[in-house]
């Protein structure tokens, strides 16, 4: 299996098939398995919508999409996809550990494989050992987002979809979580689709960055970041080459909005 996602002529919209407002129009996109793709674009460009189609939360109006060589629905039923939202969506009445364990408690009926309780291991991995019995409101914003990532990783998904997960965090926490996410990606080999509106974050994280334009959402820039970085998608934030790539992305975003 070479590609995690293959989409062609993808149309997505809200409302009926005839009267729909198109959010994405004629999108062609191929994402290699195991890669880290950043998706950048102005508000309303359909970047979150794209994630929702991949996660089988939204049906496309036209075109085809295959995820991990299968339909989005089959992939969701197998629990091969993890989703991290902008707000951590932790359930406030559950402890941190029980939030991470949520995937064990629901949706088991349609599940075709068994999922182990790796909550302790994941909490430790995310630097949250000892926080298992806390309630979400006792955590900082960054810690809550770490819990959300641990929850998404519980089922060992092959594909991790992240919708501006660090958008509400302060810059220092955000930088730290960026590094943790990269380390996680290197260790697990999970394909990651990462939506953000920060050029710096997109360039720092992605092996590849795509820029979408709005009204209707379409792909206007597809930049391979590997030439700008060292092996293993490593770079420093102050690197001149990365800064040049960011300038290029900024130019494309300027046209997009």
């Amino acid at each position: 299996m070479a590609n995690a996602i293959e989409a062609s002529r993808l149309d997505v919209g809200y409302g009926g098939r005839q009267t729909a407002v198109k959010v994405l129009s004629g999108l062609d996109l191929t994402v290699a398995a195991g890669s880290f793709l950043s998706i950048l674009g102005p508000s309303g460009c359909g970047k979150s919508t794209l994630l929702r189609v991949v996660a089988d939360l939204l049906d496309p109006l036209g075109g085809t999409i295959s995820v991990l060589g299968d339909t989005p629905h089959a992939v969701r039923s197998r629990r091969d996809v993890g989703f991290v939202f902008q707000d951590s969506t932790l359930l406030p009445w559950r402890t941190v550990r029980d939030n991470v364990r949520l995937p064990l408690g629901v949706g088991q009926g349609s599940l075709t494989r068994t999922i182990e309780d790796r909550s302790d291991e994941l909490l430790e991995l995310m630097g949250l050992a000892g926080f298992g019995e806390r309630l979400p409101h006792q955590l900082s914003g960054g810690q809550r987002q770490r819990v959300a990532i641990a929850r998404a990783l519980l089922g060992q998904p092959k594909l991790l979809l992240m919708d501006e997960p660090f958008g509400a965090l302060d810059e220092i926490t955000r930088d730290r979580l960026n590094d943790e996410l990269l380390a996680l990606w290197r260790r697990t080999g999970t394909t990651i689709l990462f939506v953000t509106h920060s050029i710096a974050e997109a360039a720092y994280l992605g092996e590849r960055v795509i820029v979408l334009a709005a009204n209707p959402g379409r792909l206007i820039k597809d930049l391979d970041m590997r030439p700008f970085k060292q092996d293993g998608n490593r770079c420093s934030r102050e690197d001149a080459a990365v800064a040049a790539a960011m300038a290029e992305l900024r130019g494309a975003l300027g046209q997009a909005s």
Binding site: F85, V106, G107, G109
Partner: protein
């Protein structure tokens, strides 16, 4: 500028002192101003009649307590169950919610004679009246509560392929609990009101009947004592709801 919070000792002492000052002026200021005892009896007179006729008050407290409690349980349960039906069927909600809304605009005092006509003079009509009063706020709050989970929370459950009943038990219901409890707090007072209103219209037992008899007979001390007892009953119910709420909702 916002005021500093009071130190804990004062936060407890001040309301006690406030109540004491009111009781003190009631006891000594009102008679001194010449307010007659048949209009406002003094606190000691009210307490005296309590001691004197304790058996009478207790025998009238029981029916009201049972009616209020039964009405509280039935009315809130009906509100919760109908809310569950409504949030799962937009069709039923669209068809019947306006009728429930209309029903709620009928003043309970106007509705009570009809309920007594239907259910007779026993405890049942009082329970029904108390239940009707509790029902509507709980229905409305529960519908809002069950619908209060965010879009991303619903998406999270969808990504996990959760069933409708899992979404209900693990997301919608716990999300609704804070709002349910705020309507239960209100219902703890209104259930007692409902029972008393019912007894007022047609009964010879209960605190409501006692209030009516005492006022017809100009037994002001007995009237005031019955009022104190009814409000204590509401406060006790309210306190139970708050205690349960603190155990259930920890966040």
């Amino acid at each position: 500028m916002r005021q500093e919070p009071l130190p804990p000792a004062l936060a407890i002492a001040l309301p006690v002192l406030g109540a004491a000052s009111i009781l003190f002026s009631w006891q000594f200021l009102l008679p001194w101003l010449g307010v007659p005892a048949y209009i406002v009896p003094t606190p000691t007179a009210i307490f005296g009649v309590f001691q004197k006729s304790l058996a009478l008050f207790m025998s009238n407290l029981w029916p009201t307590l049972i009616e209020a409690l039964a009405g509280f349980v039935i009315g809130n349960l009906a509100g919760v169950l109908l809310a569950v039906v409504f949030v799962h069927s937009r069709v039923l909600q669209a068809a019947y919610f306006p009728i429930v809304l209309f029903f709620n605009t009928i003043p309970i005092l106007a509705l009570s004679p009809i309920i007594i006509l239907i259910f007779g003079l026993g405890m049942t009509p009082k329970i029904v009246i108390a239940a009707v009063i509790c029902f509507f706020p709980t229905l409305v709050n529960m519908i809002r509560g069950l619908d209060s989970a965010s879009d991303s929370e619903h998406e999270l459950f969808r990504v996990l392929s959760a069933t409708r009943s899992e979404v209900f038990w693990s997301l919608r219901l716990p999300r609704a609990l804070p709002m349910l409890f705020s309507s239960l707090r209100i219902a703890s007072a209104t259930a007692v009101i409902g029972a008393i209103v019912g007894e007022w219209i047609g009964s010879d037992k209960g605190l409501g009947a006692l209030i009516i008899q005492a006022s017809f007979n100009y037994q002001s001390d007995r009237l005031y004592a019955a009022i104190v007892l009814s409000s204590s009953l509401s406060i006790a119910l309210f306190a139970i709801v708050v205690l349960v709420e603190r155990r259930v909702i920890k966040y």
